[in-house]
């Protein structure tokens, strides 16, 4: 009995570790929020525009989810100066919503790409 319980716990632990934090991302909502806030004017999913592609961003923060979340959230909520792909700098667009759940969903979607 002890063996069974301990093996179940181990299995649960392993499964939890390999499940990404963004498993429950609402892609449509994230895409809609990004569209509404003109994010796609500077970013694309897999094409470099004025800003890096979202896939490039996801790749940059692969395995560093917390760091990625913090960096993206900072960019879209505070509008710091960011370096564009052509080397120039400009202020990042600030997202219009204050809904933290929506913002997190968008950030998770970007990191999930």
């Amino acid at each position: 009995m002890k063996k069974i319980i301990s093996s179940s716990l181990a299995l649960t632990l392993v499964a939890a570790l390999i499940t990404p934090a963004y498993a429950g991302v609402d892609v449509d909502a994230a895409k809609s929020l990004a569209k509404k806030n003109d994010c796609f004017k500077c970013h694309a999913v897999d094409k470099t525009k004025k800003g890096p592609s979202y896939k490039k961003v996801a790749l940059k923060y692969k395995g560093k989810t917390a760091e990625g979340e913090a960096a993206i959230t900072k960019n879209i909520t505070t509008g710091p100066k960011v370096k564009l792909e052509d080397g120039t700098e400009e202020n990042h667009k600030i997202i219009e919503t204050k809904d933290q759940a929506q913002i997190k969903n968008l950030v998770d979607w970007i990191l999930s790409l």
Partner: protein, 347 residues
């Protein structure tokens, strides 16, 4: 034993849930991959020349190359298939024919828009010089100037001073420039655009006697020129009759025996958009006829051929049995007769 089974079942369930979570996450990633494709297919823009997607980690800046029109790079650097694929579908319209030297570019219509392009702030950038949307601040005249710069003359010769111009109608109120199919240019869908404002005509179209507008056989522009006209009601021709005779040529004459209102104006008897009295009549016979012919059948007073009202000079006495009957039961050639004996428009 029971507790063993429960424990095994529980662990199996947990494992299944975790695996499902992973599958969903993978699906989420796949959906992300498909987003660019979705954007293109939504606008039917798959045929438009677009920048190929770069490999992750080996991306190079697009270099701001033109995507659809010559010189569009300054706009499509932001407004590309990722942002607004519907904008790019202009490549499927006559405004996207690159081989034609007259084909404009984005700035030909929207203006150079330097402030819009150069903006680097965190808020929304200022609008382009000319915006054509529904709630735009660009004045109608300014918007129309962008179109009339090229689209002048021919059917638009009389735009200045026309009813639509005086009513502050913009070209973009009826036309969609970026869409591959402009509703107002299609005979079957044009009515939807016109009826958005002309609601009385939309109601008329549902009466029992109409032109086959609903069936898509006749469009508003078959009779009207919305861009200006020398005739009344923005008609294509100078008069109502000239316009009607474009189709109803058999009623044009000249006739040996003419019916005067036919010569004067069709709308004396008919209403063009719809009526509950067929065929498109304004009033039901015999009352309509009696508005001019004041009762020769009921009075028995003889009248001469081609004469309205009580006239001197008789041929035959009108039969009183026909009082109240529909005049066109006997006077079948009501628009005019070429028969030598057709003075009463009966043959």
């Amino acid at each position: 034993m029971n507790s063993k089974i429960k424990a095994v079942t529980l662990s199996a369930l947990v494992a299944v849930c975790m695996i499902a979570g992973n599958v969903l996450a993978a699906e989420g990633r796949d959906m992300g991959k498909a987003i660019a494709k979705m954007y293109l297919s939504e606008a039917g823009a798959t045929e438009i020349q677009v920048q190929p997607a770069g490999e992750v980690g080996a991306e190079a800046p697009s270099g701001n190359k033109d995507i659809v029109l010559k010189g569009d790079a300054k706009c499509t650097a932001c407004h590309d298939e990722a942002d607004s694929p519907k904008v790019l579908s202009i490549g499927k319209t006559s405004h996207g024919v690159k081989g034609d030297a007259r084909t404009p570019t984005c700035t030909s219509c929207h203006g150079e828009s330097d402030a819009h392009i150069a903006y680097k702030g965190s808020a929304k950038p200022p609008k382009p010089d000319r915006v054509f949307g529904k709630n735009t601040a660009t004045p109608v005249a300014e918007r129309n100037r962008a179109c009339l710069t090229c689209h002048k003359g021919t059917a638009r010769t009389h735009w200045e001073g026309s009813q639509h111009q005086n009513a502050q109608v913009a070209c973009s109120d009826c036309h969609t420039t970026h869409a591959p199919a402009d509703k107002v240019l299609n005979k079957k869908t044009q009515r939807e655009v016109c009826f958005a404002c002309h609601k009385e005509q939309r109601a008329d179209e549902h009466k029992i006697s109409t032109h086959p507008i609903d069936a898509g056989k006749v469009a508003c522009s078959d009779c009207h020129n919305p861009h200006g006209s020398t005739g009344p009601k923005l008609l294509k021709k100078n008069t109502v009759n000239e316009t009607c005779f474009l189709c109803h040529a058999e009623k044009r004459g000249p006739f040996l025996w003419a019916h005067q209102p036919v010569v004067e104006e069709c709308t004396i008897c008919h209403t063009p958009h719809g009526s509950n009295i067929t065929p498109l009549l304004k009033t039901r016979p015999p009352f309509m006829c009696q508005e001019c012919h004041d009762g020769s059948h009921s009075s028995g007073t003889p009248v001469g051929p081609n004469a309205a009202g009580i006239q001197a000079g008789l041929t035959v006495a009108p039969n009183r049995n026909n009082v109240g009957g529909s005049c066109m039961n006997c006077h079948r050639q009501i628009h005019g007769s070429n028969s030598p004996a057709g003075g009463f428009l009966q043959r």
